[in-house]
Symmetry: C2
Subunit: 439 residues, 2 copies
């Protein structure tokens, strides 16, 4: 056999070279975990045979989407407390619920549910950050999704890390367990925020990330309040605070980045810091609108994220693409901002670069890992297909029929291939009953 | 038989009385075209029998969504010209495409496609406005969707109305044909905008609507440019211009209403004018953010709309609900604005009132017409279900499995019951080939 997997007669969007070129009647061939070849059907070698052939004549094939920010286990808190002031939401609902219900079992099952939801909506790689991240990593591996799993760090007692003095040690242990263990799993560190981690914790965390060669994540400049508090406490913005601490570099992913002044934007650009933008979360929690158009002009690498389910309330990156583009247009009253190719780029190659996986995934190019999704062209909302624009604004996660990660079919015709989704849902339903039970 | 249709063991959201109360294990009984009864299963009469019984144990049942603004036939132009400046988009792409390709055949097939997309995403009633509206009305009737179909009026040559002197006469003819003809079809008039219709045309159009007792639609205050031009030409805002002409009353639906000053808002409230808000379109075309929170405080009845596919690019009202709520929150940096119950209200009872159908549809109440949808509770993104909040922010149109309009099942397990969707798509594909063919 020449190939392990061959998709034929499909409309293919490689999303290589920043363009939206498409192959109208094309093939994509996979060997092992990598893309072997792709092109028009007429160029498929006559002898090209495969173990598995998928008829793609009703499909659009594109790179799997990359979710650069998620707290997967928070599916348990989806819609638990909506439409509330931020501090009331956090202090009276989310933090207490986390204190009571977050444990290894909860993280395991609720992360599995999140992985199911993400695969169903076309996400093939997710960057997660939470506590009990061992359980999250196990769950991700079992579902077949690619993941960067980051153990959380805060300077107060957290689920699984009752004594904050041991928070960096907990990450070291997590990295010891997971580095080099599973091909689809990259362990990492997530220092929660400049306002929940001391300067020393931030520097120790970043130093550990550098030693181990793993990504470093941090929430940054999400709200105006955070900036004001930083100015009071440190005399500088949160971004400059991190810059002074030496935390900003191309292996740091700064999440949110809503409140950035011109100096902050320059610092992010100069240091090569990556940005994970979560427009849905920023809208729901009324944090603000991130300056994506400006950051792009500054050459900052940007990925898109869903954030956790408590602040969104779903994990559909197609929706985030739609929001990201439309939000910049309406903010600046300029419909040309963040065109479809930019938005598609953020959700694919941009996300891959943000996570340090730019050489591996993010576009359909021979030699890259085979992470791709097949959308159903027969959906009424995907007709006509004049161009790829409608993938950012007309498609939804529900249009995804088949998902391939690392050369393996993990969802086929909307059926999970590697794990029991029904069992997962049953477990989450049981956990949810406890959440609503009277205390 | 007591009932024609009985849904059992379902989670039911009646959306009556402005609340989000739900019946956790409930039944909904339909007799003829109306809701006969609903309540907890334990209150279902023991002898309650039905011709058709649907097991709703995996379903959330809620009122069908009401799309208060659409140009259905524009599915043909979906994604044709995105990310362009408004005037370039309109003058160099949309208007020329309409001049070349809009005819009765196009309107018929592309409206059928739109109806399929809307039914699939849970819309059971749509207010449409276009040209060749006879063909649109026929298409709507065949698909089983409820529709308010409005013939378009502009003071320049339009598809099917080459001489604008005959534009009001064309509406009269349209009303003659359709008034009282089909139970699900309400004919109406759509005067395009204050800047495309003369004062005389607007007054003649509104007078005709009053005589015939049909709704009157008009685009209003969509862009800042429109307001400035009105101030130059008429010395007043477009809203006050319409007020002076006597066009504003509870049977007028003003579409968009993005640029309203305090005086404009007061005029809409005082006259009882209804507002159809299209957040997705206003974002894509960078028109701006409508003052929905303020209009609500003024007591204005608001419905949601998708606008046509060229300016959105889909017809999914679940997405519009999500956008409407999140956009007000992020605009005002206040997460409590437009809570889920308000957004759900706009897409159901609000839409019904806006279209003059408040007594007939919009909530699940005995005696109202049976327009309802069943969502699949087994979708990963709909778990857990703590409250109805997640229907506005976690659900997508793809979660809708079964759709009932006027007591009739028009989609069952995502299969259209009354018309051939494949044939419709084939026709639209052929029409789309002409659009992209070299001239």
């Amino acid at each position: 056999m020449d190939y392990d997997l061959l998709i034929t007669d499909a409309t293919i969007l490689p999303l290589a070279n920043d363009g939206l070129e498409r192959i109208d009647r094309g093939y994509l061939a996979i060997k092992g975990e990598r893309i072997a070849a792709l092109g028009p059907m007429r160029e498929l070698p006559a002898a090209g045979k495969a173990l598995i052939t998928i008829d793609g004549s009703d499909s659009i094939v594109m790179p799997g989407l990359i979710n650069t920010h998620c707290h997967a286990a928070m599916t348990l808190f989806r819609g638990l407390a909506d439409d509330l002031p931020l501090m009331e939401w956090l202090n009276n609902h989310i933090f207490p619920a986390e204190a009571r219900f977050v444990n290894a079992e909860m993280v395991y099952w609720c992360t599995r549910l999140a992985a199911a939801e993400m695969l169903r909506s076309g996400t093939t790689c997710v960057a997660d950050g939470y506590f009990h991240e061992d359980a999250a990593a196990s769950a991700f591996c079992e579902t077949g999704i690619r993941a960067v799993a980051a153990q959380g760090v805060v300077d107060f007692p957290a689920p699984g890390v009752p004594d904050p003095a041991g928070n960096i040690a907990a990450v070291e242990q997590f990295l010891d367990t997971w580095q080099g263990r599973e091909p689809l799993l990259t362990p990492a560190i997530f220092c929660h925020a400049p306002y929940t981690c001391s300067p020393e914790t931030l520097q120790r965390g970043k130093e550990l990330a550098r030693q181990r060669g793993v990504p470093f994540f941090i929430h940054l400049a999400e709200t105006e309040f955070e900036v004001q508090e930083s100015l009071k406490k440190h005399g500088v913005t949160p971004t400059r605070h991190l810059y002074r601490l030496g935390v900003l570099d191309p292996n740091t992913v700064a999440v949110h980045c809503v409140w950035l002044n011109a100096d902050d934007q320059r610092l992010l650009a100069e240091t090569g810091t990556r940005v994970a933008s979560c427009p849905g979360s920023n809208m729901k929690l009324a944090a603000g609108i991130a300056p994506l158009a400006e950051l792009r002009r500054n050459g900052v690498v940007i990925g898109l994220g869903t954030d956790g389910c408590a602040s969104n309330n779903n994990l559909d990156l197609f929706e985030e693409m739609d929001l990201a583009g439309k939000l910049q247009k309406v903010k600046h009253l300029d419909p040309t901002l963040l065109p479809a190719r930019a938005v598609l780029g953020m959700a694919t190659v941009g996300g891959a670069e943000a996570l340090g996986l730019g050489e591996q995934i993010g576009s359909l190019v021979p030699g890259k890992k085979a992470d791709c999704i097949l959308l159903d062209r027969k959906q009424a909302n995907l007709l006509p297909l004049y161009g790829a624009e409608l993938l950012t604004s007309a498609a939804t996660g529900g249009d995804v029929r088949t998902v391939i990660v690392n050369g393996r079919v993990v969802m086929r015709d909307r059926r999970m291939m590697l794990f029991d989704e029904t069992e997962t849902m049953a477990h989450v339903r049981e956990l949810a009953k406890k959440v609503t039970a009277p205390t």
